[in-house]
Symmetry: C2
Subunit: 355 residues, 2 copies
């Protein structure tokens, strides 16, 4: 049995930020959720308490061997005060899949969602209501045992922190320029690519810096073995519309199973738009471009929801997709998913969880 | 210009542990070294202060994207009180190579060594003098900026913590059993394998658990692309003696350039023992075993120095090497390197730095 949730309210509350000048992931709310794992007690001591620096031993294993996993999801609030979470059960399922890959003990998904709901309810006033804004939710687990042994820790801490975020597209949905990365590798068969663990992200900083220096927004990652198959775009899954069909790389242990990806596929199926999950080579995309059948391309992820790709640079070729404009299917997906998330449209899939 | 080192001594000192019951990396000394990086000041504020938990924001980027690097080296003390560091300049060079891969700003290697010397001098009494014991030194850098943006941090902290360690071989040098891992991957071309960064280590926990469950001490890692070429053993580099020649996998961006490895190669060359750094397939080792020319095998690393491999299991074959006993070259390397480290033998290479 898990202990009951203890709630300590913050004595002083921070002023709420201007929703029009929010930077992603820089502002945090007044409270956070924490829970500990001890070898002999399991996950215990669930608490909501004031957001504050934590005290941690410099030998805590997370600092040395990066035994850590995280999640990212959003809560949306309408002007009339209704708060919706988008598919939180999928995030906690994925957290446990990541835990497994990183040898971290699984959490109870049901009670985690209950605790999250209580935290978000307490922080309700922090959720902006302006078009495109939301509350970004970041659950994460870190290994806290002080030990330099290269082995799974005996103690962990789970946190949920909350950050109000502004619109990803303050001036309307905008296609971006993407560079195909062929030197460095994000993930490989047998590695940690399908887990949401920190090491996958810092591994990509050099490639991202190169892309930025060359005027691109993000990199497109190829498979680590042959640098032939398309995997992801930045921290998003990727889709192409080729000759009327939507294709996306099939899942493998080097691709993160995005919840937006899953939603896109379900939505397309409900629309009877042909969609297939299969291996896609960069050459296939280039050939489609050359013969005029590369019709649209976009990334999918919690932060941007849908991010149209206007330009794709591979080696010496820059492909302009759909004249650099957002394609029709891309637009429909963006509108429908965000409308469901914010309650503007009916949710026939049961994706949203009202508080 | 870097600021001068500020030293705050601990008011109460911890009792020194029994050198015969030390577990690796579980006991820490009274003081630690810290230094901060700020975007507008560079590396600043070097301090030696009491070893204690640190205060850090839960949004600190190290927790989310594992932007972190570390090092490991040892100090040895003789009964007459002389303290020697083993090749510290190599460790700080490697730290900066790791920093580069992880987009962390480089540190000044010279001043880092000066600060390390001051820290070790202050903690001199913590260094055990018994046969095989030493003081393990763990420098590490973590990204401290509170931000959820997937990008290099603007602030960092470097720590050096110290841990007295017991003998790796309390009952004399012992060959171990190794299992070749073919499912999961530690590192791949274009990845972070040649950097000493946390993500490489927790990625191997599942494989290590499988090895342990099957009665093996460590795993042998193959290349991530073809699972054909030998890379490392656990957290050690690996050597084979085949038909009179010592061979070790050549360096690549998926192999950590070990300082013990480097010392082994230099020592073998000085002994005129044939040694070559080249690609080695698992099949080659198996063939050598089959035709009776696989004479010795060992791992090399700071913790064990030299770790003889008595048994190597690949798929259905278990190869017993040198009758399961430590080979002659393995023994000579272990003795000579440890003798140089502890000052029992002359150091013709200038490897040791006396305090
Ligand atoms: C590497 C990676 N790929 C894809 C995604 C998209 O996943 P989701 O749609 O669940 O946000 C993410 C997370 O945002 C990610 O970190
Ligand atoms: C992955 C890995 N390989 C090899 C080594 C050996 O390096 P060194 O001899 O510098 O300790 C280490 C560090 O101990 C390591 O972490």
């Amino acid at each position: 049995m898990e202990a009951t949730l203890a709630i300590t309210e913050a004595v002083t509350k921070k002023p709420k930020p201007d929703p029009n000048s929010l930077q992603f992931g820089k502002t945090f709310t007044d409270h956070m959720f924490t829970m500990e794992y001890k070898a002999d007690e399991g996950w215990t001591n669930p608490q909501i308490k004031p957001y504050a620096p934590i005290e941690i031993d410099p030998a805590a294993m997370v600092f040395h061997y990066s035994q850590t996993v995280f999640e990212g999801l959003k809560a949306y609030r309408t002007k009339d005060g209704v708060v919706r979470l988008f598919r939180p059960e999928e995030n906690f399922k994925r957290l446990n899949r990541s835990n497994k890959r990183l040898s971290i003990p699984p959490i109870d998904e049901k009670s985690a969602i209950e605790h999250l709901k209580q935290l978000v309810a307490l922080e309700k006033d922090w959720i902006p209501t302006e078009e495109g804004t939301s509350l970004y939710i970041r659950p994460f687990v870190i290994a806290t045992e002080p030990s330099l042994q290269v082995a799974p820790a005996k103690s962990y801490q789970l946190f949920i922190i909350l950050s109000p975020v502004g619109s990803y597209y303050p001036t309307g949905i905008q296609p971006v320029s993407i560079m195909v990365e062929e030197d460095t590798t994000r993930a490989v068969r047998g590695g940690t690519g399908s887990a949401k663990t920190g090491g996958n992200y810092s591994a990509g900083y050099n490639a991202q810096a190169k892309a930025t220096a060359n005027g691109h927004a993000q990199v497109l990652w190829l498979d680590g073995m042959e640098k032939k198959y398309i995997e992801e775009v930045g921290s998003m899954n990727v889709f192409f519309k080729i000759n009327g069909e939507i294709v996306t790389p099939e899942l493998s242990d080097s691709i993160l199973e995005g919840i937006t990806r899953k939603s896109v596929i379900e939505l397309l199926k409900s629309w009877k738009v042909p969609v297939s999950e299969r291996r896609v080579t960069m050459q296939e995309v280039k050939d489609a471009y050359d013969n005029g059948t590369l019709e649209e391309a976009f990334g999918s992820g919690t932060a941007a929801v849908i991010s149209p790709i206007g330009e794709l640079t591979w080696r010496d070729t820059t492909m302009t997709i759909n004249g650099g404009e957002t394609g029709d299917v891309t637009t429909s997906l963006y509108k429908t998913i965000t409308n469901i998330q914010t309650g503007k449209e009916r949710d026939p899939f049961g994706w949203t969880l009202k508080l």
